[in-house]
Amino acid sequence: MKRLGPTSVPLIGLVALLLMNAALSPGFLAVTVRDGHLSGSIVDVFLRAVPVLLLSIGMTLVIATGGVDLSVGAVMAIAGAVAAGILVHPAGTPFANISGTPTMLAVLGIPIAVAATAGAFNGLLVAAGIQPIVATLALMVAGRGVAQLLTNGQIVTFTDERMSALGNGFWLGLPIPIWIAAACALAVFVLVRKSALGLFISATGASERASYLVGIPNKGIKVFAYLVCGLLAGVAGLIACSDIKGADSHNAGLYLELDAILATCLGGTSMTGGRFNLAGTIVGAILMQTLTTIILTRGVSLEATLITKAVLVIGVCLFQSPVFRAKLTREKSA
């Protein structure tokens, strides 16, 4: 038997889920053209997977360095709050002094820069020797507070069409968020795989002491990973905020850090750091969204979704464990 590649387990899971659902509800896989763009359940799955997908790409890099970033959900909320603040500049918020219509560059660029800074801040704390789970827990808690301060505790809504197009528009027949996610995934992939950054990230995660001795700048690598993670969380925050045409500091990105960690695990990246698998992570994120969508469309309650997710995660992780696979094949061969 040919050995299964690292991405194949979640991929097989995803295909199986899609086929199963196609059998149960005909038309699930059907894609129709409506108003000049593609539409259908499958497009919807991809669209809804975008925020988690963006988070989990960054999370994969961070986990590969041997860390974890719990603050991405809060960073999403901050990015959304900053964007809405600049756009609407409501009275009583730090943005009240802005006048006139801000450029799109400011509305998108500043929140992303803020998110990247937040990520770099995490990275600096971790590089200084604070345990990742503690360092990022601080921003997970404080970040949501910052976002609420920025919006004065209100949900800031906007009507700007340029901004809402980000989450709701279409380009070449596909929703814009899907294009953004694809572009980000491609950019990160090229950045880490066509340079030696990916190797250095894995080396840092596999053994910090050994990689220090061969001159790898572990601290810089960590700051880089957390920075990218924060930056992508910022992009996800903008999309989430554009989607609902408002910044909801209480709920934007809530618990999504956990989904991102799950997607990374599902994709076959070990939580202990070292090797990572970006393609697997992407499949993992889509797999989780597929499951959620399927359960919702079949009319099962949200509570059941969570339990099913957990069962799926345990199942896939078991299948990726070399020990478990060895047991399976041994029993088969016996």
């Binding site: 030696a196 080396a203 596999a206 050994a210 990689s211 061969v214 001159g215 790898i216 070990s270 090797r275």
Partner: protein
């Protein structure tokens, strides 16, 4: 007392033990020897029930036994002291000795009895360690003694020691051996796994050699000269080619100069010069400052006094990265935690230093990587199907070769080798040594530590001797011999 007949163990695809026979009499110390992968560890694990056996019989006092776990074997009277001591460093000595078999009083653990038991077990070994001391605060040797005391406390009649001396210094080994001899006189049967030939002749009565999972020889120590033992282990005669080339003459060009290099609580002020193409040894006991000297030189620890000059250029505030860029490389002593990157492939491990030197923005193409890796695998005889195998699945010797290769491809001027042959089998040892000699003759300089004086004599043209974290002598030419080094280490005048 213990009789193993036709013992076999198969793993999927591998026959790890094939009809192995071994016997152990009362009051006998038997050495179990063999290269890495010969089946020593597997034999111990099957014998103690950690692995189920695939075939064969184990008789203990004439009765067939069938231990199902190490704890079960321990109840039968077969105790094992593992190389990585399986004790709890954050518990006290007494707790460690009694763990899993505590006396109870009114349903509570009777700590008074536990302490008594520990004291009597430790007394039997003739060592003084306070039973209330935290295990982690003891030296490795003392921890080992505690592990043996624990075995005695369980009424062990067969004691298995898995490479007990690999992290002990000469004095500690002496202490361990006198304890083992005492236990032997009390009638214990001891199975002693080791890589060191000298220790076998010093301590053991008989030798069982394994090779590729089968018996390769069963000798009485008095009737087996070392060369016969080595050829049984290797399955071939030691050829001239395997012993290294004679120590080459080095040039006068100084490539590395340390001037009063030191760090408080670590090592005193060291001054030495390393010449081009020279193999400079660092000799001394464990803890004498050998390893520390290498680490300071490489910047793995920051020196707080002194200066370091590489090829005439001073290097300020040394870090591994700076030293690497100045043309140095290091093979650390602790290969598992500081050498290899577990989980990453042989290829990734091998090209890491070169890639790190080039920087992240100038990646080596995969094709180039594969070319380099395949070349090194062939050149150094690294046993792996290809470069994509995770490095942790290689044997110790092959891992060491990968780490050597890691530096060789980045063309360092100076290589710092900390115990380059520790824990690797004899065949690989010879290969590593001849590789060092070859590279030195091509102009690479080496700074090398070894706890085996023999090895220093064989490879080095000059040696610095350290004692109690100070450099006490520099030996070369006719002075460089075993007696002289021993004398200086032991505290004689330089």
């Amino acid at each position: 007392m213990l009789e193993i007949t036709n013992l076999s163990k198969s793993f999927p695809g591998v026959r790890a033990l094939d009809d192995v026979n071994l016997s152990l009499k009362e009051g006998e110390i038997r050495a179990l020897m063999g290269e890495n992968g010969a089946g020593k560890s597997t034999l111990i694990k099957v014998l103690t029930g950690a692995y189920p056996r695939s075939g064969g019989q184990i008789r203990f006092d004439g009765e067939l036994i069938n231990p199902t776990s190490p704890a079960d074997a321990q109840r039968l009277g077969i105790s094992t002291v593992y190389q990585e001591l399986n004790l709890a460093p954050n518990l006290s000595v007494a707790e460690n000795i009694c763990l899993g078999d505590e006396d109870r009083r009114y349903g509570m653990i009777d700590w008074k009895a536990a302490r008594q038991r520990s004291i009597s077990a430790l007394d039997r070994l003739g060592i003084e360690v306070g039973p209330n001391k935290l295990l982690g605060s003891l030296s490795t040797a003392q921890q080992q003694f505690v592990a043996i005391a624990r075995a005695l406390d369980r009424q062990a009649r067969v004691l298995i020691l898995d490479e007990p001396t690999s992290s002990l210094d000469a004095d500690e080994i002496k202490a361990l051996f006198s304890i083992l001899k005492r236990l032997k006189d009390e009638g214990l049967a001891i199975l002693f796994v080791t890589h060191f030939l000298g220790q076998v002749y010093e301590l053991c009565d008989s030798i069982t050699v394994l090779r590729n999972g089968s018996n390769a020889g069963d000798f009485s120590v008095s009737e087996c000269p070392p060369d016969q033992l080595v050829s049984a282990m290797l399955g071939r005669e030691l050829t001239a080619e395997m012993s290294h080339a004679s120590v080459a003459q080095s040039s006068d060009e100084v490539v590395l100069q340390a001037d009063k290099l030191g760090r408080r609580h670590m090592v005193g002020q060291l001054s030495f010069e390393l010449r081009r193409g020279e193999v400079l040894g660092l000799s001394g006991l464990l803890g004498s400052g050998r390893t520390e000297t290498l680490r300071l030189t490489y910047g793995a620890e920051t020196a707080d006094t002194g200066r370091l000059t590489v090829s005439g250029k001073p290097v300020e505030r040394q870090t591994p990265r700076k030293m690497m860029q100045a043309g140095l490389g290091i093979c650390p002593e602790d290969r598992k935690t500081e050498g290899i990157l577990p989980g990453l492939s042989v290829r990734e491990n091998l090209i890491l230093a070169l890639q790190s030197n080039r920087g992240w923005y100038r990646p080596l193409s995969l094709r180039k990587q594969n070319d380099i890796v395949n070349e090194m695998i062939a050149k150094l005889g690294i046993k792996t199907p290809d470069g994509n195998k995770p490095i942790d699945q290689l044997s110790g010797g092959n891992q060491q070769k990968v780490i050597l290769a890691r530096w060789l491809i980045s063309n360092p001027q100076i290589l710092l080798l900390d115990e380059p042959t520790r824990g690797i089998d004899i065949g690989s040892k010879e290969e590593v040594k001849s590789l060092i000699a070859r590279l030195a003759s091509e102009g690479t300089s080496f700074l090398l530590t070894s706890s085996e004086i023999e090895e220093i004599l064989e490879v080095c043209s000059r040696t610095l001797v350290l004692r109690d974290r100070e450099m006490v002598a520099e030996l070369q030419g006719g002075e460089l011999n075993e007696a002289k080094i021993m004398e200086i280490i032991a505290g004689g005048k330089a």
